[in-house]
Structures are given as structure tokens and as C-alpha cells.
Amino acid sequence: MNHNHIVNLLEANRLGSLSPEERSVIEAHITECSKCRQAYEAAQISADLIKARASEIVEPSPFFSKRVMAALAQSPPAKPIEFLKAWKVMGGLVASLAALVVLLLVLTFFNPIHRPQSAAPESASNQSLLEQVLLGEGDVAVNNMTYGHVLETVFNAEDSYGNY
């Protein structure tokens, strides 16, 4: 019988659950092996200590259940909100936010009024003048333009559009 076998027997099982045969094997071995005897003594004392500790049980007082119910009443713990209930409460808000985000995305990427951002200041003024000339709007100076000036304005504006 080797040392490891004895130690394994002591550690694999509760000491009280060892069979009489296993006990007699251990007791025969420890008469000639001090290391195993010390291990066995320590295992016995460990078992006694654990038993002593296990026998100490705090019993609930007769008022314990009342105390728990009072604690529940005092600060009722938050119950986990079920998904459906949560959706009923928060669903409208979430849907509105989602709709707003979609709207912003549409306005950002599919803007129908596409205005050039890098046009030269001169071309911008030409375009403005052209619009005034073509729409017959504008100030007195525009209204009093000669036919030649109108043509010149239109051609200049066309040149500017060519930059796009």
C-alpha cells in the first residue's frame, strides 16, 4: 500500500463514509508510515472540526417571516419589467425617435434642391443677375437694361454654368 493511495482515500471521500475494509487498510498502513499517520490524524481532526461547526445552526426566530414582509412593504424591490410591458410604455417614444432619425437621413442624402457649394462669387452674381433678367424682376437698373445687355448677361451666365 503506497502513501498516495492512503492520502487519496482520505481526500476522495468523507471520512465517515469509508468502508470497514478501507479503514483497516489505512490503520494497518499507518503503523509503519508516520507521514500517513499524520495525514490520517489531521483528516480525523478535520472531520471532527467540520462536524462541530456543522452542528451550529442558527434557527429562524418566530418573527422572521413578519420581518421579511415588513422589509418588503417598506421598500418593495423593483420587479423586473417584462418586455411587452416595457414596450407598451417605451414603444411610442422609441418609434418616434426612429422615425425622426429616418427623416433626418432622408433629408441629408436625398436633398432635391442641390445647390453648388464651390461656385465662384462672380458666377453667383451672374446667376443672380440672370434670374432677375429672365424673370423680369429686379431693381430699376435691370428693368432698364438694353437688349444687348440682356444678351451679354445671358451669355456670361451660360459661361458660368459651364463651370459646374
Partner: protein
């Protein structure tokens, strides 16, 4: 009074269903019915009544909020036991342990108890209540060196003699994990006690006046 009698006759499942639907007397009956088990497990971790009661109360408050998560597959007692072990383990893990100092100063009584335990093998005598208390104190010190998991497995299997299956259900572990944990915990406990015995021998000469054999 009648309603109390009715509640007492209710099955475990019926009580749980009633409590889940907000029936407070049903939950109070659950607390009454299962508090001995919760206290028993909490007593494995804590000794002072105030600590055990505090833990037990926390367990039942948690159970109340989590009643909807009880799937009715295993026993309710098993489900509650698992909440208890987890709550106590967490509390113990967060508590500061000082393994080095726990065993540093044994009292004279504890030293004597250790000697008497070895003497018991040759001279059998009945343990007095005082001896028992000393043993429980010493056990608390030695168990304090171990991890909370080791401590729990040892006290449940070796102390309360719960089966491996029962402990597996309580802890939410596999059977093999329980066995391995128990194996390792016994080794660590035995080593801690061997260390104590060795120190005792060095302090007072050879324990019981018996010289240790030559070690191989």
C-alpha cells in the same frame, strides 16, 4: 385563521404561483416554510445570528423579485437553496479575509483541544459542551483559511452529509465539479490542520509526549 390553514395545506407549486401573482400571505407562508433551510445554509457561512438573519432576509427579498424566473422544473426548495448559496458566497467573497492571521494565534483552549483530540484515540471521553464550543471556534478559524467555495462544499458534504447530487443542485455545479472541489477542499483543510499540529508540536515539544516517527 382559515386562510392560514389553507395556505399551510397548499402545495409548494400552488404557493409559488399565488405569490407570483402578488398574493403576499402566500409569500409569507413560503418564508415560514423554507426559512429553516435558508438559515441552515447561511449558518455554514456565518455564525452570528444577526449576520445569518441579514443574509436570509436578503435571500427572500431576492426570491420575491425573481419568482417569475423560477421555471418550475426543479424543486422550489432547490431553487431557493441556490439563491442562498450564491448570496452567501458573494457576501463572503466580498468580505475581507486574512488567511495568514486567522491561524496565527490559537488560544490556550484551542491548543488543549487539539491535544485532547489526539489523546481521544487512546482515552475515549465524552465531549463537554465547552469542548464543543472550542471545537466550533477552531473550526471557524481553520475554515476561514479556505476559500468560500471550499468551505461550503466541506461543510455541506462532510458536515451536513448532503449528497453530491444535492450539493450540485444547490451550487448550480456539475457532479464532477462538486467531487473535485470536495477533494481539493479536504486536502487544503487537512494541510491546514497538519500545519497546526506541527506548530503545536514545536511549541510544546512533541504532542502528547509522543515523539514523531522518522519521516520517509
Amino acid at each position: 385563521m382559515d386562510s392560514t390553514v389553507n395556505l399551510e395545506q397548499n402545495s409548494e407549486l400552488e404557493l409559488v404561483r399565488r405569490a407570483r401573482s402578488g398574493d403576499e400571505p402566500a409569500f409569507e407562508e413560503i418564508v415560514r416554510r423554507y426559512s429553516p433551510r435558508v438559515f441552515q445554509i447561511a449558518s455554514r457561512f456565518f455564525r452570528r445570528r444577526s449576520e445569518v438573519e441579514e443574509m436570509a432576509q436578503e435571500v427572500f427579498l431576492k426570491a420575491y423579485t425573481q419568482l417569475s424566473s423560477y421555471q418550475e422544473r426543479g424543486s422550489f426548495e432547490g431553487w431557493l437553496s441556490r439563491i442562498t448559496t450564491n448570496t452567501c458566497l458573494n457576501a463572503l467573497r466580498h468580505a475581507k479575509r486574512h488567511p495568514e492571521t486567522v491561524l496565527s494565534d490559537l488560544t490556550e483552549d484551542e491548543d488543549k483541544w487539539l491535544e485532547s483530540k489526539l489523546a481521544e484515540r487512546s482515552v475515549d471521553h465524552r465531549q463537554s459542551a465547552e469542548h464543543h464550543l472550542i471545537a466550533a471556534d477552531l473550526a471557524e478559524r481553520v475554515l476561514g483559511v479556505l476559500s468560500p467555495d471550499d468551505r461550503l462544499v466541506l461543510t455541506l458534504i462532510d458536515g451536513d452529509e448532503f449528497s453530491v447530487d444535492e450539493v450540485a443542485e444547490m451550487m448550480g455545479w456539475s457532479r464532477s465539479k462538486v467531487k473535485v472541489q470536495a477533494f481539493r477542499a479536504r486536502r487544503r483543510m487537512r494541510k491546514a490542520v497538519e500545519k497546526l499540529l506541527g506548530r503545536n508540536r514545536r511549541k510544546g515539544g512533541s504532542l502528547l509526549g509522543v515523539k514523531p516517527d522518522h519521516e520517509p
